[in-house]
């Protein structure tokens, strides 16, 4: 279980460019559930998602993982935690240009003490399910936005992480692919995985276990399914 307590993030504090991206955010994410963060653009969803994923250090507040306060744990510990437990799907997709779709999926695995090619079959299965098999050898800059989003999905899921953090995962994809993504998230929950999604998509909200609505950096509503 992941919990946040009064989680706050202020960018450029004490300067004229100061931005309070999140303030006193308290949320709870149970294992094996789908949790949705919804709200308008600039409401702080991405910032909260980044802090939960331990890729952004909060200005104040605490992040508890299974009851343990990991907020000020070392950079090294956080990296290992992400390596072993978290799969990210970014709003801006964030694929590495100059590499093929398959290389983009395999690069995150290089830090494991394993032969990355062992994951190739699993990646191909996911590519097939997301109907992008014929594009695995293409450079990512040759792919459409929707195709890139699907590559990012494969990259996040290929390692079978315990926690999936997805930031607007269906924003670039077509109806059919969006439906597959929902299905996959449902399956992941059924397998006991934890899925946290920042989204506007009402269809995804329907399958959520808990929904937090954010406005101006704070949680204004919490709904349980």
């Amino acid at each position: 279980m992941i919990e946040t307590m009064n989680l706050t993030k202020i960018y450029n504090p004490g300067t004229p460019r100061e931005v309070v991206a999140a303030r006193d955010v308290n949320i709870r994410i149970d294992d094996g559930t789908i949790t949705i963060l919804r709200g308008p653009s600039g409401s702080g969803k991405t910032t909260v998602l980044s802090m939960i994923g331990l890729i952004l250090t909060p200005s104040s507040g605490r992040i508890l993982i299974d009851g343990e306060n990991v907020t000020r744990y070392s950079d090294y510990w956080k990296a290992l935690y992400r390596r072993m437990n978290v799969g990210f799907i970014f709003q801006h997709i964030n694929l590495l240009p100059g590499y093929t779709a398959m290389e983009n999926v395999l690069i995150p695995l290089l830090c494991l003490d394993e032969d990355v090619l062992n994951y190739k079959n699993k990646a191909l299965e996911l590519f097939k399910r997301l109907k992008i098999t014929e594009r695995v050898g293409n450079l990512v800059q040759q792919l459409s936005g929707g195709e890139q989003q699907r590559v990012a999905l494969v990259r996040a899921l290929v390692r079978d992480p315990k926690i999936i953090l997805a930031d607007e995962p269906t924003v670039f994809v077509d109806e059919e692919t969006a439906r597959i993504v929902f299905e996959m998230f449902g399956e992941l929950r059924d397998q006991g995985k934890t899925v946290v999604v920042s989204t506007h998509d009402p269809r995804l909200i329907k399958i959520a276990d808990r929904v937090y609505t954010m406005e101006k950096g704070t949680v204004v509503r919490e709904q349980e399914a």
Partner: protein
């Protein structure tokens, strides 16, 4: 653990291919700088080695005559006096000098061949023919350097005429040719019996150019030298002093050139740093993303270290090969004259090149270390930033 490092190695190779422009600029810049620097260092090492070889053939002590700070002819009576000093096994007269013009510049050395059991270390250096024997006295027999033989187009058995300073023709017969092992020492050398040299230079009887001393190995050379120094007007040079003189000459000239090229190399390192900054935005994004996936700061630095090592070792190795080729095939062009300074170099002269371990080590160090610094520091700065912030800044 090994698989992870192997993965990083492959990724580093991919990065080198991916950032083609940076790789190319760094490779070219370092290769050029290292090729020039290695050319100088290998040449300097070669000259110092030549000096050591030359000095190893030299007598234990050389004594010349100084008056008013100028070297004059040494009275032959000094030889008898020197022979009486404890520790002196043999004191021999020598007449030598320079002559010739243009391509025919040479060093003439006249040796006392009576009692030639002391062969001055020359017999091992003869490549063709033989060294002089006592019976050669007065016959015009000479042994000459291989380079000079090439320039004058003479071989063993040939007769040649040398014009002396007083423009008198002197006829000589070549009985031997020195090998080119000690290029600088023997390249332009003509060895002849001392009386022939006396006649050639018109040195009056009772005088010689200097004398050479062979000492008893059980008596310290410095003690003998100190005793010889008590002779009036004597300038005493031991092997060690000669070697230090040679090394100071080549080392000093080489040092000047090395300093120049090290400064240039620093400029190259700055180019690398700026190249690292040019790709900094992309690299910052990449580092942030890799950290998101669970790469640690150390992992990132390891990847950049591998990249720098591959690039540094490759460019340094390539630069050294080019440096050696430049020294051997192109005779070190612009550096040769600067290093040798005093020497006239005919086209046939082969620069002595010696690839020493300390120089190779230094060359790798001056390439790899700045490169490691120029590429890993920006990577480290990115790696210690929150991954999300690094990606956000890169995208801004």
């Amino acid at each position: 653990m090994l698989k992870r490092h192997r993965n990083f190695f492959h990724y580093a190779l991919d990065c080198l291919k991916k950032y083609k422009t940076r790789t190319f600029v760094v490779l070219i810049a370092f290769t050029i700088a290292i090729s020039m620097l290695s050319s100088i260092l290998f040449l300097k090492d070669g000259l110092e080695r030549e000096a050591e070889l030359s000095v190893s053939l030299a007598p234990d002590i050389t004594v010349s005559y100084l008056q008013g700070g100028r070297v004059l002819l040494l009275p032959s009576s000094y030889i008898d006096k020197a022979s009486e000093i404890k520790g002196v096994v043999r004191a021999l007269p020598r007449i030598w000098g320079y002559d010739g013009k243009g391509l025919n510049t040479y060093t003439v050395r006249g040796l006392d061949l009576s009692g030639v059991e002391v062969d001055y270390g020359f017999s091992n250096l003869v490549k063709k023919g033989r060294f002089l024997v006592p019976e050669d006295a007065g016959t015009g027999s000479i042994v000459i350097g291989e380079l000079l033989a090439g320039v004058l187009k003479v071989d063993v058995g040939d007769t040649m005429i040398l014009l002396s300073e007083s423009i008198e023709a002197n006829r000589f017969t070549v009985v031997g040719i020195f090998s080119s092992e000690t290029t600088i020492y023997t390249a332009d050398l003509i060895v002849m019996p001392i009386d022939d040299a006396r006649k050639f230079f018109k040195i009056p009887e009772g005088y010689v150019t200097d004398m050479i001393i062979y000492t008893d190995p059980e008596v310290p050379v410095d003690n003998v030298a100190a005793e010889l120094s008590t002779m009036p007007n004597a300038r005493v040079l031991t092997k060690d002093i000669l070697l230090r003189g040679y090394k100071a000459a080549y080392g000093g000239r080489g040092g000047f050139l090395v300093t120049f090229w090290v400064i240039l190399l620093s400029a190259v390192a700055l180019v690398c740093f700026s190249q690292a900054t040019i790709v900094g935005r992309e690299s910052m994004f990449e580092v942030g993303l890799l950290k998101t996936f669970g790469f640690t700061t150390l992992d990132i630095i390891e990847i950049r270290l591998i990249e720098s090592l591959i690039l540094g070792v490759f460019s340094a190795s390539l630069g050294m090969v080019i440096g050696i080729v430049y020294d051997i095939w192109f005779k070190a062009g612009i550096f040769a004259q600067s290093l040798l300074g005093w020497a006239f170099l005919p086209a046939e002269f082969h620069m002595p090149v010696y690839v020493s371990f300390p120089s190779v080590f230094s060359l790798y160090a001056v390439t790899v270390l700045p490169l490691l610094f120029a590429t890993t520091v920006p990577a480290w700065l990115n790696a210690i930033t929150d991954p999300e912030l690094a990606m956000r800044r890169a995208a801004a």
